[in-house]
């Protein structure tokens, strides 16, 4: 934090205090471009992983009737976390790279004439990767919230004329909301601090905030990197606080 107020030079930094690191960042167009892009990616990832996460959680909590199958499903969800993040990310390359499984399958099935670059090192592929990386954090809390729910509530809703879909929409979804929002907080914090996915999968072409911090640190621009990191922390805290308010968690805890 202190570094962020130091003055950067071409060969390092010295301890002369300055706010220029902040003014440079906050007035620079590229910085706000990156913030906008980061928030856009975050919003898309949250939206998609909420839809996928809630569906999977609902399936595991309600459709699966056998207790041990349910437990196994939830357990499977967290198996990928046994291997390290880097390994998980690198496995995308043989799957989605030019000579990867997906391209091979699609060309052999004559759906594509030649291997596509779309699946790797692009923004959509990065967003997809982020969704699959973090969707488990939405599924988990949502699943537990759904399981906690008093089943009499569902029976009451049905007897009052609610179809299964209306029961889901009017009872289960509102009551699972705190679980979903807890998931959002996890995912937001992790995406905002994720500097690697956009490089490995996104190809480093459309950097996210955490990635730009990393890049500046790499070229030893410590003061600028620290200042950006400080801004990043503020943004992260603001988002987390906003989500917490939305969840009205204090009512449930």
């Amino acid at each position: 934090m202190l570094f962020s107020f130091w003055t950067g030079t071409s060969v390092g930094m010295h301890s002369e205090l300055t706010t220029s690191n902040y003014t440079n960042i906050l007035t620079g167009r590229t910085f706000w471009e990156t913030v906008r892009w980061t928030l856009q990616v975050l919003a898309i990832v949250l939206a998609c992983s909420t839809i996928i996460g809630v569906l999977v959680a609902y399936f595991a909590a309600r459709v699966v009737a056998i207790e041990w199958v349910r437990t196994a499903l939830v357990f499977l969800l967290f198996v990928p976390f046994v291997v390290s993040y880097v390994i998980r990310m690198i496995t995308w390359i043989p799957l989605f790279g030019r000579a990867g499984l997906l391209n091979t399958a699609l060309t052999e099935a004559n759906i594509l004439d030649e291997p596509s670059d779309l699946f790797l090192y692009t923004s959509p592929s990065m967003v997809t990767a982020l969704i699959f990386l973090y969707v488990a954090f939405i599924i988990g809390p949502t699943f537990f919230k759904l399981r906690q729910l008093d089943e009499d509530l569902l029976r009451a809703a049905q007897n009052l004329g609610a179809s299964p879909f209306k029961t889901f929409w009017s009872v289960e979804l509102p009551l699972a909301r705190p679980g979903i929002v807890v998931g959002w907080i996890f995912v937001s914090v992790m995406i905002l601090s994720d500097f690697a996915t956009e490089r490995i999968i996104g190809g480093g072409l459309s950097p996210l905030l955490a990635g730009t911090v990393w890049r500046r640190a790499e070229v030893l621009l410590w003061p600028q990197a620290s200042a950006q990191a400080a801004v990043l922390v503020v943004i992260t805290l603001a988002i987390a606080a906003g989500l917490l308010r939305f969840a009205q968690l204090e009512r449930d805890l």
Binding site: D150, L153, A156, A157, N159, G161, S170
Partner: protein
């Protein structure tokens, strides 16, 4: 003429069985509930009463047999199309909605517009004595109030049948009696069929037009409270509903005036048959003595008496129930008006204490013999 006067069956069970794995929760049960009836289903836990009421609501399906609602087989009708709202012991109020929106939930599901369903919900809250509480949340209300909300929610769509699953079970005794009166009033006012499940026989006797007694998934008896209470068909009903004393007995013959001479572990007594249930001499039977028929007697006062020791006493407002332990170790309940004990307390007379020896007896008219087909 006679046929047309019989009200149509609202709910009809025909040979309905329900199997959960290896256990038979319901064993070939048949009964019918009439329009406008307050119908209670009673039985100990595990008797199949909740399964029964859930089948009406569509929350369970019969393994065998048919369930009819308003004369139609509802096997293929999902719960939300049955129009059978249920009041739960847990109340099951939606925690994310305020009281008004809870009551209006059924109307919302039917697509009633917001202003209309809200004003309707407020009317209903008035009907159950909760006007002005519409903006509160369920957790801010007492148990009794939540119970009323659950009831208002169930009747909001003007259903023809309302199901109550142990609906009063979570209330304390005084509140329960208050709600019993209120439920009965509402049911008459709405001219709606109430099907009510309880393990509390006194609750059923207080409210029901007819009672269905279940035990171990089998139907034991259906009848008016008076029939079930005074003329139980089975030994189980006698013990469960009437809080009766049961004694193994064998008839050794009849006297001139229609009484049986019976032999029991506690001596030889005289007893009459229950109406329409002839007793076979020499076959094992059960003597049923109501707790309030048993009283203290002086030796020789009646032919029906035995000696015992007071093993316990329970005061319940207007009555005191003593537990009399007979010489063979079996226990019998003797219910006395509280005033009796009270007076004797003043006169320092023979007020009963635990450990006292007593001779108890009963009039032959207040007990009868029953032989249960096995």
């Amino acid at each position: 003429m006679g046929e047309s006067e019989v009200p149509a069956a609202v709910v009809e069970f025909k040979d309905v069985s329900r199997r959960f794995g290896d256990t038979l929760a319901l064993d070939s049960v048949s009964f019918a509930v009439r329009q406008g009836e307050f119908f209670s289903i009673i039985g100990p836990s595990g008797s199949g009463k909740t399964t029964t009421v859930r089948m009406i609501a569509g929350l369970e399906a019969p393994t065998v047999g048919t369930v009819k609602l308003f004369g139609k087989n509802v096997a293929a009708v999902p719960p939300h199309r049955r129009g059978t709202p249920m009041v739960f012991q847990s109340y099951a109020l939606f925690p994310h909605l305020n009281i008004r929106d809870n009551v209006a939930y059924g109307l919302r599901m039917r697509g009633v517009a917001k202003p209309e369903r809200r004003s309707r919900a407020d009317d209903l809250l008035g009907l159950v004595g909760l006007e002005g509480l519409g903006d509160r949340r369920a957790e801010q209300l007492s148990g009794g109030q939540q119970q009323r909300v659950a009831l208002a929610r169930a009747i909001a769509t003007e259903p023809r049948v309302v199901l109550l699953d142990e609906a009063l079970g979570a209330l304390d005794a005084a509140l329960r009696i208050e709600m019993q009166v209120e439920l009965k009033r509402l049911q008459k006012e709405l001219a709606c069929t109430f099907i009510h499940v309880t393990h509390d026989q006194s609750e059923a006797i207080a409210m029901a037009d007819r009672i269905l007694v279940l035990q171990g998934g089998r139907l034991e008896q259906v009848g008016t409270p008076a029939e079930v209470f005074a003329r139980p068909k089975t030994r189980f009903v006698a013990a469960f509903v009437g809080q009766n004393n049961l004694m193994d007995a064998t008839s050794t013959g009849t006297t001139g005036d229609g009484l049986h001479r019976i032999h029991t572990p506690l001596g030889d007594f005289l007893a009459k048959e229950s109406d329409g249930h002839p007793i076979v001499v020499g076959e094992p039977a059960t003597l049923i003595v109501r707790a309030d028929a048993l009283r203290r007697v002086t030796p020789g006062q009646t032919p029906n008496q035995f000696g015992g020791t007071i093993a316990g006493a329970r005061y319940s407002g207007t009555t005191v129930t003593f537990l009399v332990k007979a010489s063979d170790g079996t226990e019998y309940r003797m219910e006395e008006p509280e005033s009796l004990t009270h007076n004797e307390c003043h006169s320092e007379g023979d007020r009963l204490r635990i450990g006292d020896d007593v001779v108890v007896g009963w009039d032959a008219d207040h007990a009868y013999l029953m032989q249960q087909p096995t």
